[in-house]
């Protein structure tokens, strides 16, 4: 199973990025092979609809679970259509959150924010 996480840097010690659509990178963790990969988020500097494009990237990569601190409504539509499960991350590193997920400590992300449409910087 493939787990995706928005990250600030391309290391497992990285913090989880506070933004989904405009995160600089996504980390994928394959639970079967224990393999970790990183990809650049091409949606990060989009003029608009960054969440949609980022979500499309995750869908195309075969993601089944997304660990993220937040998610906008448009991204959520894409992710839900692809049946990707979303869990809300806790403060801490990516590694910490993967452990927390494995131990069933992360809650399902239910709060979907209306998005930061038109604000290219994303959340502060």
């Amino acid at each position: 199973m493939k787990i995706a996480i928005p990250v600030d840097q391309t290391t497992k010690n990285s913090n989880v990025c506070i933004s989904f659509g405009r995160a600089p990178y996504f980390m994928f963790f394959n639970t079967e092979t224990k393999e970790t990969t990183f990809i650049e988020n091409e949606a990060a500097d989009s003029q608009g609809g960054a969440g949609i494009k980022a979500a499309q990237t995750l869908v195309d990569a075969g993601t089944e679970v997304l660990l993220t601190p937040r998610c906008g409504e448009n991204a959520a539509i894409v992710l839900q259509k692809a049946k990707i499960k979303m869990y809300k991350t806790l403060p801490g590193s990516v590694e910490d959150n993967l452990v927390a997920y494995k131990n069933g400590k992360l809650e399902i992300l239910e709060e979907i924010h209306p998005g930061f449409h038109g604000q290219h910087e994303g959340p502060k």
């Binding site: 608009g48 609809g49 949609i52 499309q56 448009n74 038109g118």
Partner: protein, 285 residues
């Protein structure tokens, strides 16, 4: 003749000036381009209203023709399309109506449909034709409504007073694009002077002849007036901070129709502006 009335900030008196200049003329068209919060109609209370819907094109997909090539998804710079689980998802609110996806689709699976974003109302109030644009709540841009307003027939043949949205963004640019003259309304405050400087920059960029009306003038320092003098801006006239005017305005009365004093004031301002436009026209030919 088209006269645009604008200001860097809201609440300086754009609508007060626009409504009264139109009312001071025997025959005029008042155009409310402040489509997010139009309020000129509250003063004119226009009769014989005609309403026309304003739409923008957005894509729709014929699923039986779509083969999932995703060229539209890749093409859209605004990411208004996604392809999930063998079906195309269209985000209308993100779409900028460029029509690119429809053009590019090799399967001809995409076509345009009309999405309503607001309306244009046309009516009359004594000698004034009143045009108001109203944008639906939640829409991203009022530009198509402003375009529609300014395309109205007869606008070129008479005196048209264009009441612009506040600020200096795209909607204001669209509103002043074809104006022969721009009136900048300013308040006597530091904030007012700063925002005046923003619209001055805008009208200079558009090469529009312009002048300033100082509103809400009190005794003492007027930062907007100082700004005008420092920057060689022509002051068309000033309106004092007056209880009588404020009261009429607050209850939706047109001062130029209610009071001879204010009829004279606005007739005078209109005459000064018309002379300015005439002067500009001769000096440019």
């Amino acid at each position: 003749m088209k006269i645009a009335v604008l200001s860097g900030k809201g609440g300086t008196g754009k609508t007060l000036v626009s409504v009264n200049l139109a009312a001071a003329s025997d025959q005029a068209v008042y155009v409310d381009c402040d489509v997010e919060e139009p309020n000129g109609h509250l003063f004119f209370k226009p009769q014989n209203l005609e309403t026309e819907m304003v739409t923008i094109p957005t894509p729709q997909v014929d699923e039986s023709l779509c083969n999932g090539c995703r060229q539209c998804v890749d093409f859209c710079k605004f990411n208004a399309l996604a392809y999930i689980g063998n079906s195309l998802v269209i985000f209308e609110d993100i779409c900028h109506s460029c029509g690119g996806c429809v053009t590019i689709c090799p399967q001809k699976a995409l076509s345009e449909k009309k999405k309503e974003i607001g309306e244009v109302k046309k009516g009359t109030s004594d000698g004034v034709m009143v045009l108001s644009g109203m944008m639906n709540i939640g829409e991203a841009s009022g530009i198509p409504i402003i375009k529609k307003l300014l395309e109205t027939k007869g606008l070129d043949d008479s005196l048209a007073v264009i009441d612009c949205p506040p600020g200096s963004a795209c909607t204001v640019m669209e509103s002043i694009k074809d104006a022969d003259y721009c009136i900048l309304v300013a308040e006597p405050s530091i904030f007012g002077a700063h925002n005046l400087s923003l619209v001055v920059e805008l009208v200079r960029l558009f090469n529009k002849p312009h002048g300033v009306i100082l509103n809400k003038c009190l005794d003492g320092k007027n930062p907007s007036e100082e700004y005008c003098k420092e920057n060689g801006l022509h002051i068309i006239g000033s309106l004092s901070y007056d209880k009588e005017l404020g009261t009429m305005n607050a209850i939706g009365l047109v001062a130029a129709r209610e009071s001879q004093r204010y009829r004279d004031v606005f007739t005078g301002l209109l005459k000064a502006v018309v002379e300015e436009v005439g002067y500009e026209a001769t000096s440019n030919t």
